[in-house]
């Protein structure tokens, strides 16, 4: 498994206190909200904190949120894009 995606899954479970879910249960493309993992608006804020805390990335445009946090894969893509943009 992609190392970044693997780490993200562990961090999501920890940050969001999803004690009934194992990181490996989360699909790379599985939607994180509503019909997927069932996250809510407070979880969305926690994901923004996670990006800042773990990857030093600030979500500059809140309207990007639904796209960025659609799945673990879209989060990983966003992190890679911003890391490469910074380097």
């Amino acid at each position: 498994m992609d190392e970044l995606i693997g780490n993200l899954k562990k961090q999501i479970v920890q940050q969001l206190n999803l004690q009934d879910i194992r990181p490996e249960d989360i699909g790379d493309d599985q939607p994180l909200f509503v019909e997927g993992l069932g996250l809510d608006s407070i979880d969305a804020l926690e994901l923004i904190v996670l990006l800042q805390q773990q990857y030093k990335i600030k979500l500059s445009n809140p309207e990007e949120g639904p796209k960025v946090f659609y799945s673990v894969k879209t989060m990983a893509d966003y992190i890679r894009a911003h890391r490469s943009g910074l380097s």
Binding site: L16, N17, L18, Q19, D20, E46, V49, Q52
Partner: protein, 200 residues
Amino acid sequence: MPEEENNITCDCKISNRVISKNGVDLFTRQDGNLNDFLISAYEHFRLNYPKFYKMDNLCRLGLLAAEILLRDSFKKENYRPEEVGIVLANSHSSLDTDLKYYETTRGFASPSLFVYTLPNIVMGEICIRHKFKGENALFIQRKFNPEFIQEYVRDLLNNNILQACICGWVDLFAERHEAILYLIEKGSADLSREQKLNPK
């Protein structure tokens, strides 16, 4: 018109890491910390409500007590959602979570802790879980005053604002915790229990 009699249908107590209902001990765990106890109880009683993990300890305590109080004792189908309410009191408000949240503000303030920095959220969580939409109130008091709560609930029932009410005390700070809940129903047939809130 004569007032209809209000009856205490059942009670639940969680204190010193012992859970009892109607005076019968149902669960205890003395090792570990309060968090371990609450999670163990959640698993023991098979609540099957993953949101429990995300709640602060005050909400976990209140939700757990309400769950055990209502299970096998409350016929929800007898009431409309607007007819069931909650009246609680505690002495530490949401201080336990307030302090935990304050700690996070030194770095990244936690949104998920922030939403629990009000004491009445515990009633909201119980209402969401059971789909109750009736009147609710939470009082901050130095100690549990059963007479005050009983009087308040009596008014709600006698004025037909509610037909059933979960009421009592849900207090928590650090490892100290105490939940004493009662279910009071209007004109319930169960007259066998002591008709006075008695936390002893």
